[in-house]
Symmetry: C3
Subunit: 311 residues, 3 copies
């Protein structure tokens, strides 16, 4: 019934349009349930082990909320360095094989790329990757894509502009990969030193998408259906004068929003630190907090799917 | 139905006698439920986000227990410095707007005065202040007042003696404000340098209460219905000889208790460090652990009220 | 009905064969329930306070899972040094008397021997010792013994070999004490400086058991029904040459396993760091992960018992 039953969720590469449609459909059911009943007993028979090797309040909270909204139990292991077994030199594989004795599904965040795959190889229960360093963060990419579809009613045909640090921004990379499955126009707006990596750029070009790069948000604001904003970090610049020169191109202001379409959305993976002025929060096009809420629905959908529970 | 439905709980200043009566009535229902059934499903549809920017095991445990006893879900964020989003520079308002996407009510402790109001202004879900620095700690004041009424059957007409550090003791300040709504006689017993601040003293005088200050517990012990004891910290004294001289006036001993009424109570916000001798714990007049338990009932009452759930 | 109702679980010394049989029978019911339903509502009316004064991810997770599988609430206090009340100088007794206002049972880990007894003396609700320093860790010993009985169908008549650090290994000491109630043959395999303490050795001899000590696993491997492996820590040796000389006697390899019986088991309290080669994990005789799972069942059994809940 559910395609993902018993599967791991490790990478956006696992997802095709059919599977995405399945996950999104279930996420809408979850929203419906939360808005009418608050919580259900769908996952009451199950326990989730949440192990975060690096802190991430937001993602941990989202998964805990997701499991709690579905009536499941949660073992929260979020103390970072305080994992005694880990500090005693236990391998990741052993830790997974221990946790699966207690729990029916494992959600893991880890600072090292590839750790999620390694964990999944050791565990017999489903492992959901909640971010592995510069690697993947598939649930974030899914919630981003879900937000676009929920807010604008479709994905095909949209103009999506990614803004800010496109070089190191993991969420940009994962979302870009997912968008390559659709017929969208991509605009990449960044300082020269923070341009999208070549392999990703070649990927979207190979997928036949209409792609353009530029340095200034002003060039894309009028046509954008989606502005996906990320932080441009001062630390990335060796020449601070260069940073001061460009930083204003990547700050979303009311003046800039005045040039945007009436029906478009501003997204941000959060936390933000000045990239979007707070006055914009009351603009109905500001979708970033609704995006956060969609994260909970997507995670509810994925948890139910890998555990084989149907609404 | 419930006056507090959808409201924040930020300050004792919000509470008048009618509202206090409402909260206390519901707290009694909670005690009744816990003593007969242990836990109920009253708040099953809801999720609480508990975010503590400074550690407080006791208060966090009390709120977690309260929500669990009512069947609700809890997202515990108590890692102190480990809030990754916060450490990345996220504003308090953004953190609140994120948490309310996951949860139906937020309980927050923060080291800075005014933080609770700021949080409540940003959040659309109810925010309960679990202490904001030298500011307020309204649930503590309510549980203190509730304990007096539960133990002695009334509040009006009582002689209440506050003892110890009346200058910096936040619980003393909040309880004093609440007691000003009633017809009580207040006795403030402290070393000279730890007297109740002038503004508070003027407040209770303006409220028409019978007030007296003194330095020695012996002066109030015989007439007191309530001894509210707090810690006198050595660190407050620049002259340690002065501390050594006065410290015994603020230590509750069996000898002192022998001079007290048969029907009176000793309270303490805990933790205690020597202010009350452990031998007194078995005295039926020692109410401080029952006071702790009342805290759970008061928090159950408040959570149910702000979430609009009626027993 | 349940012998342990309202009792503390502090030491293996509390357990005789009848009580062990009772705990194991209930643990089997728990396994049955988990394998068919996942979770039950048996302990729904109850709340567990889990307070860990030193980190232990594995044990904490096991108890949290146990309580969640039985539908109970959990107050997790696992932040180690972050206990604000404790850091403010509160006594262990006061902390217990506070926690019992919120919770129906307390599970505690503490770095100091004797802390569990002290806690239990203060608390009126049952206290379960989850390890007190070099003292006791009774639930570990019970799950070890349970694993032997589950895997091999009996305890009497078995050849049990304990391997590694028998001097400091708390789990070895506790299991040895429990095994003294049965008719087993014990083999103690360790480097000279890590031999079983004399008092324990005298205890098992007084109990009339057949006992032998040696230095090399090869001497016991062929006859062993149970190999209970623990870590030999390099730090224990002042002379590293001595460590290098002996270390291979205490490493379980496929070659060694080839000499073992077909029906025997390898156990380890975990975490392991090289004592058992990972290639052995797929050997059906490798019981250490099943042993972990048994820990959850034993803790479910104990929680249900002390809370007086019967399946």
């Amino acid at each position: 019934m559910t395609i993902l039953k018993g599967q791991d969720v490790l990478s956006v590469a696992q997802f095709d349009k059919a599977l995405i449609g399945d996950v999104f459909g279930r996420a809408r059911q979850m929203r419906q349930m939360v808005e009418t009943e608050g919580r259900s007993d769908l996952l009451k028979p199950f326990v989730l082990a949440l192990i975060f090797y690096e802190p991430s309040t937001r993602t941990a909270s989202s998964f805990i909320a997701a499991m709690q909204r579905l009536g499941g139990g949660v073992i929260p292991i979020t103390g970072g360095v305080q994992f005694s077994s880990v500090s005693k030199g236990e391998t990741l594989g052993d830790t997974m094989r221990v946790l699966e004795q207690y729990a029916d599904v494992i959600v893991m965040r880890h600072p090292e790329k590839g750790a999620a795959e390694q964990a999944a190889a050791a565990a017999t229960v489903p492992v959901i990757n909640a971010g592995d360093g510069v690697g993947e963060h598939p649930t974030q990419a899914l919630l981003d894509l879900f937000t676009i579809e929920e807010e604008l009613g479709r994905i095909d045909g949209l103009n999506v502009a990614m803004i800010g640090d496109l070089r190191f921004g993991r969420t940009v990379h994962s979302l870009t990969r997912l968008l390559s499955l659709y017929d969208v126009n991509l605009r990449f707006v960044s300082p020269e030193i923070l341009r999208l990596p070549l392999t990703l750029m070649n990927g979207v070009r190979d997928a036949g998408l209409n792609v353009r790069e530029c340095h200034d948000v002003a060039e894309v604001i009028a046509s954008a259906d989606v502005l996906y904003v990320t932080r441009v970090q001062k630390e990335r610049f060796s020449d601070l004068a260069q940073y001061d020169e460009v930083k204003n191109y990547y700050r979303i202001t009311p003046d800039l929003m005045a040039q945007a379409q009436e029906k478009m959305i501003v997204m941000h993976p959060l936390p933000r630190v000045g990239e979007i002025e707070p006055t914009i929060d009351s603009d109905p096009r500001a979708a970033y907090f609704r995006q956060v809420r969609n994260g909970m629905f997507i995670r509810m959908s994925l948890l139910a799917s890998v555990l084989g529970a149907t609404v």
